[in-house]
């Protein structure tokens, strides 16, 4: 959501190429591929942890050990210590990665699909439907996303499902808008004209030509938003509107450690680090994909 309105969205359209040649371009190319590799590695690592959570967790994430409350990092038996109720931090972090990933991926996938459809129909059709869809989106887009997410989550009530719904609603306008911008460029492309000239129906053009061509840039944009979604979701859980205790969640865990921040900072800091790392991984991946798909960056 850091993209401004007027910035053109890169599509695989032929352009004259950048004026700036030589080393800066080569370096930026290498950097973007490195970004993709680093980002993908981080995200894959978290996915692996989420998948293997039952096997790598030494304890049940909700198991309370009243005697071993607030143990520090490296305590025998508790590699990353315990929280205020004596629950194993490592187990809770491993299980918490599941909700964080779900928050990052599920709303984006749903909103991305809805956005692709709304955006492509709106922008391809043009005229009244485009005006209605896009101006409607502008209304929602005008609200600060974090406030909107909090408002929706508060209205729907707490819980993972409602959190996913609220984030999906927040994401639909930017995804629609970005699709519409991509489609607005695509519909002017000559191969669309050629398809029309060969008698293709509008629906056929949208589904066979417009959508397949817009998936890549839209996917890159979606990935760059995934990082913010991790932070959003954690934030909403932190203020108590998202994931409910005792389920392990990184945002919730930061809140749990708030009271003992001065004595035992690891209880809040470890999930905080986890959030930063995952969000950074998604951002690296998203930026790298965007650069890769941006024709101006092609070497």
């Amino acid at each position: 959501m850091d993209r401004t309105d007027n910035e053109p969205i890169p599509v695989a359209a032929p352009t004259g190429g950048s004026q700036e040649g030589g080393w800066p371009r080569v370096l930026s190319g290498v950097r973007s591929h490195q970004g993709i590799a680093v980002g993908a590695a981080i995200v894959m690592a978290v996915v692996l942890v989420a998948l293997l959570a039952p096997f790598i967790s030494p304890y049940d994430p909700n198991e309370i050990h009243p005697i071993d409350r607030l143990k520090g990092i490296g305590t025998p038996g508790y590699l990353l210590g315990t929280d205020i109720q004596g629950r194993d931090m490592l187990s809770r972090l491993a299980w918490g990665s599941r909700t964080s990933l779900a928050i990052a991926v599920v709303p984006l996938a749903i909103a991305g699909l809805i956005g692709l459809l709304l955006g492509s129909f709106g922008a391809y059709g043009g005229g009244v439907s485009e005006t209605l869809i896009m101006r409607g989106m502008d209304v929602v887009f005008g609200l600060p996303p974090i406030l909107l997410a909090i408002a929706v989550a508060a209205t729907l009530g707490p819980g993972l499902f409602n959190l996913l719904v609220s984030l999906t609603i927040v994401l639909i306008p930017p995804m629609t808008r970005v699709t519409a911008q991509v489609v607005a460029i695509l519909r002017e492309q000559t191969f669309v004209e050629a398809a029309r000239a060969s008698g293709a129906r509008d629906l056929q053009i949208i589904f066979h030509h417009i959508l397949p061509n817009s998936v890549a840039p839209v996917l890159a944009y979606a990935t760059s938003l995934a990082g913010s979604m991790v932070v959003f979701g954690a934030g909403i859980s932190f203020i108590g509107l998202g994931i409910q205790p005792p389920r392990a969640d990184w945002g919730r865990m930061i809140n749990d450690g708030r009271e003992v921040l001065d004595l035992m900072p690891h209880v809040s800091t470890l999930p905080g680090i986890a959030i930063v790392v995952l969000a950074a991984g998604f951002n690296f991946l998203g930026d790298g994909l965007r650069d890769l798909l941006d024709p101006r960056m092609k070497v």
Partner: protein
């Protein structure tokens, strides 16, 4: 001419509305094409060739463009009065189009085989497998080596000439009665150009398809067309059999065009560039559009736009003094 009439365009006007005024890209053009006839539409950039081609298929983008007047009679029906759905059924099935810059007229993320198959399936109602088989057959006819490999390629993996063959295969697949080739060979190098023109000629000859070929290249016209129309500032200014045009042009603009390109007929004689610029499409003077550049202009030319009239059997010119235009060459 012996051809039965297939397409007749009468007084077609396609105007573009912009901030700078109304650009009359096509401003009252008249012509006809017979069944199976190969006609060239020649003119410099901005003369309205492509807009004419797009107007026939009603593919001019509106806004900013709009067909404001005229009739396009095709097989007895006025295309301008058809519904969008009726028009869609004509596109690709009865009239196909081949474009300039073939690589960008293919979907970059679609295998070219699927691209052809889609057009075939759309108009012949065949399933994908049959459509692919048909595509293979077409590429064989177009003398494409290992057509199956080509069909599995994406456009960026193919050369411009190969992409153009794909577009031609797509256009011909449905056995249309008219193919509009808009600068179809302009983006290709000369040898590929020649081979494309030859195959296009042979194929259309076989199935009796008429061709309207727009180009700025006199050599292409001479090679591929039996009749040629010269376009200037949105109108046809000369219309005759190709050999007559090259023997004895009857409009000063045609003379200027022929003098400006090298030719084996006139080895050793210098090229004569045409003076001046074509008028802006936003400002159409009342008289002859070529007046400002014309070597044989007279005051009368400024009064009224000269109509396209038959000046000799089978040939028309929009010049008031066709006999003086260039004389024998």
């Amino acid at each position: 001419m012996e051809h039965a009439e297939l397409l007749r365009v009468e007084g077609l006007k396609t105007w573009f509305h912009s901030r700078h005024g109304v650009a009359k890209a096509v401003d009252g053009i008249d012509f006809s094409i017979g069944e199976g006839e190969h006609v060239g539409l020649v003119g410099e950039s901005g003369s309205g060739k492509s807009v004419t081609a797009l107007s026939i298929l009603r593919l001019v983008r509106d806004p900013p463009g709009r067909i404001v007047d005229g009739r396009i009679l095709f097989e007895g029906r006025d295309l301008l009065s058809l519904s969008d759905e009726q028009m869609r059924r004509i596109r690709g099935r009865r009239i196909s189009m081949v474009f300039q810059d073939p690589a960008s007229h293919l979907d970059p993320v679609m295998k070219v085989g699927d691209w052809i198959a889609e057009a075939v399936a759309l108009h012949k109602g065949t399933n994908r497998k049959e459509a692919i088989a048909e595509a293979v057959r077409l590429l064989q006819v177009l003398k494409v080596p290992s057509p199956r490999d080509v069909l599995h390629a994406y456009p960026f993996q193919l050369s411009g000439g190969m992409c153009q063959r794909i577009l031609i295969a797509t256009a011909i697949a449905t056995e249309p009665v008219l193919i509009i080739a808009d600068e179809a060979t302009s983006a290709l190098d000369v040898t590929v150009q020649a081979s494309i023109l030859r195959t296009l000629g042979e194929l259309t000859e076989n199935i009796g398809t008429a061709v309207l070929l727009t180009t700025h290249n006199m050599r292409v016209v001479r090679k591929a067309c039996s009749r040629v129309m010269v376009m200037y500032a949105g109108r046809v200014v000369e219309d005759c059999r190709t050999e007559h045009l090259f023997e004895r042009p009857m409009h000063p603009y045609t003379v200027g065009l022929l003098n400006a390109v090298p030719s084996l007929d006139r080895v050793g004689r210098p090229l004569i560039p045409m003076l001046g610029e074509p008028p802006l499409p936003t400002a159409t003077p009342p008289g002859c559009a070529f007046f400002a550049r014309c070597p044989i202009r007279r005051p009368i030319c400024q009064e009224k736009r000269p109509p396209l009239l038959e000046v000799a059997p089978g040939r028309s010119s929009a010049c008031l003094f066709p006999e003086e235009a260039g004389g024998a060459r």
